[in-house]
Amino acid sequence: MDRNRSRRQILKTAGALAGCGVLLRLSIRPAAATPEMMKDAVRSVIGKAPVKKGKVKLDLPPLVENGNSVSCTVSVESPMTADDYVKAIHVFNEKNPQPNVISVKLGPRAGRASFSTRIRLADSQTVTAIAELSDGSFWSDDIDVIVTLAACIEESMH
């Protein structure tokens, strides 16, 4: 009986310790950004201007196997002339540790308001692109992506 109890005690203690370990690990990990953080980041970049849907096309694969490198293309419908052009394009995400992805400045000399890059995605989430036009209006597009292998916070392999 006694022996059994002590064994149970040891197991309990071990379990509790393991639990502590998990908690400690979790507390070291950074909290992921939240949709609210993304909204704040958007506001800090574009101010209080209203954002309309349309004109922008954000191209990401809807199902991502590896979040470490996801091809991302943003294009905006614009004639790109001296008095009607895209001034800037910003890309945001909801759930990476940080809401910003990339900010691009363009001008009429770009000829075509489009760029491509490769991004990291830490979780299945909504990615948003916002374009600022020369007339001061803002247009956006967003896309939901499912990520099976997350990026950014995984253990180092070396």
């Binding site: 490198s69 540790p97 000829g111 890059t117 070396h158």
Partner: protein
Amino acid sequence: MARALIHVPASAKKGDVIEIKTLISHVMETGYRIGVTGQPIPRDIIDDFVCTYNGEEVFHATLYPAIAANPYISFFTVATESGTLAFSWTDQHGATQVQTAAITVE
């Protein structure tokens, strides 16, 4: 700083929209990963990329840790005149790498 690859058409017609592709080797360490010692791996990223066409800025990007390692950026510009396209990448410590490409415009 690192090895960079640039693709610019060698020649173009005046007024053509040309695509430019760039890639630079860089870890783009996010600063959010934990190393084997349990310590966070410090952030090390390229945060600024600029392309100038004969000295005039045509494309400027601010990069964040959400950009994948070995940042690839492709974009467009109008071929206005023969000359040089200069690409510069600046990391968070202020180190800059510049690479140039020549273009002939008929």
